[in-house]
Symmetry: C2
Subunit: 346 residues, 2 copies
């Protein structure tokens, strides 16, 4: 086997031989670290990775064999109907570009994430789109060393590094949802919030607060209950609000699935939507066109976010830099049948 | 370039040279047909393909370069929440086997299907799982010639050839849904059927009929309305049934999405589920746990169907034959809140 095959070199920068010399290890050991193999001690791996990072080492692109292009679309979990919206957008653009879309789920487990990274390396993927999922810093670093471009869709936190991110205008969406309820005459407006560790949750909450403050109302903390975006938490949150001495007359749920859970909590109590409680969601999943009643919600352009992610990752793969490292696509209020003016108290 | 690279030979059977001789064309022309290139006249292509089929020609597997395994998961459209259930099952098993899942949609358009086939060939996919989608016979034939194993999930019609298929026990599901309504005391039970060209629709209808006949009732054709599995057709179908001089007291919708459309039609008329009409769906999509009311439905094991499809396609890729060319996984009635005994007429 030619040395060339086991020891890829960077583009005009530090060589793998130099890294080996500085680390006090053999060239094949550095190769094993670069290629993500497990037969290296943690201490040696850390020392070599520090040196690779220090010197900005990147694996030579020409070591990738010529074959059809692939990109990796990685979810934390494939348990939400909005995943299919993103897949639909990504597939449409990737298909047209002759690029295959490899879909994976890593379940927030580091074992699954490392396994995925090994597979990604073996199939020589050309780019990665990561959806709402915090990747461990070491895997970020491995992608960088491999020279595989990464784009994050709907980041759950500050992704750090110089990773481009694509999100929705969450703050503006929270503002629009709350302004809609205010314009109908509601003054006591509950919020079922998303997980506070997610940036998108915090932005939706701030939009809710901004609308209330612009109307001369503050946030009544007793009307804000926590949720996790899943329907069960909408059910529980709405039940808690209904148990208040003076429940709200309207409700902004920070996800459609929580709105559906809230509507079921109302139905169980014999309360009608929108007569007894107006409900606004967030996402505009295809199914909420057919909820009972059809849901007023904030449309998040999930498929468009997927499309833009593909375009961005393919342009990064061509060596181009994105115009902006952080893009937010617009959200839009869609008014259906779950909102109405408050019923006057008898 | 060595002749070997342009003229793969079959395993101890007919050579490409012999096919060329019999077809009266050059060896490179036969290679172009085998490799699916477009620069061959339709007449020549047809003549060569006939001979390839006649002789059972298969491309030599060793012409595929060594690299990470991939399988192709192909939908007609990525427009239904049940797609994500199948993707979830496929990804789980493929990921564990170190195989990447490439997701595509071909939209029932032959141009998209041919484009997909070109990409499949370029990425040297190891297997194909086709979901409810009629592939053109010529593409079936190309897969066979390439030696790429194919499994069909939930076939829309008889797939022909010797393709293994994986479905759900649709007939038993239709029977269970209708028996459940009969056991509650319903005698006028409507059906919103699926598209009759799909095998699964016909099996669900026959299960409905078998349950009625076992109860000494025949099918009242006026209570059967057509649908296409989408919510709009459930809305329209339910509305038509409500406009009958004597509407049914219960309804079996052959998909969950049609059941949701039917529930919305009832809500618009001020009718309650299940007090005024019982509704049973089919699929058990995650969202119907949170419909208003939560839906009684027939669970179709979509993720399990995806898992079995991966296991089958990987065993075919290893050269093994499946135990049975046609597998049906069991369906299960899930009783929630959308069904109840009929309300006695006042």
């Amino acid at each position: 086997m030619a040395a060339d095959e086991t020891a890829p070199v960077s583009r005009g920068r530090v060589t793998i031989t130099e890294i080996a010399r500085q680390a006090g290890v053999s060239v094949p050991t550095v190769s094993r670290v670069v290629n993500g193999r497990s037969d290296v001690s943690p201490e040696t791996r850390a020392r070599v990775e520090d040196l690779l990072r220090l010197h900005g080492y990147r694996k030579r692109p020409s070591s990738v064999p010529a074959r059809a292009a692939l990109l990796d679309l990685v979810f934390n979990d494939l348990d939400s109907p909005w995943a299919v919206e993103i897949i639909r957008g990504v597939e449409e653009i990737a298909h047209a570009a002759g690029v295959g879309t490899v879909v994976s789920a890593i379940h927030g487990r580091s074992g699954d994430a490392r396994e995925w990274m090994r597979n990604l390396r073996a199939r020589a993927s050309d780019g990665v789109i990561l959806v709402t999922s915090a990747l461990e810093p070491t895997l970020h670093e491995q992608l960088r060393i491999l020279g595989v471009p990464l784009v994050v869709v709907d980041p759950t936190g500050s992704p750090g590094f110089d990773t481009p991110t694509i999100g929705a205008a969450n703050w503006a969406g929270g503002l629009a949802a709350t302004e809609h309820l205010l314009s109908l005459g509601h003054r006591r407006i509950g919020l079922i919030a998303g997980p506070p560790r997610l940036l998108c949750s915090r932005a939706r909450f701030d939009g809710y607060r901004a609308a209330l403050e612009a109307a001369g109302l503050g946030v009544d903390e007793s009307l804000v209950v926590p949720g996790d975006f899943h329907p069960e938490s909408g059910f529980t949150g709405c039940t808690a609000l209904l148990d208040l001495p003076e429940p709200p007359t309207a409700l902004f749920a920070a996800s459609d699935q929580m709105a559906l859970g809230a509507i079921e909590a109302l139905r169980r109590r014999g309360l009608r939507v929108p007569e007894d409680m107006s409900v606004v969601g967030f996402d505009d999943l295809p199914e909420v066109r057919w909820s009972a009643p059809p849901l007023t919600t904030v449309r998040q352009p999930l498929a468009d976010m997927g499309k833009l992610a593909v375009r961005t990752v393919l342009s990064l793969a061509r060596g181009e830099q994105p115009d902006s490292p952080r893009v937010e696509l617009g959200t839009e209020l869609v008014v259906r049948s779950s909102t109405a003016p408050p019923t006057p108290v008898q």
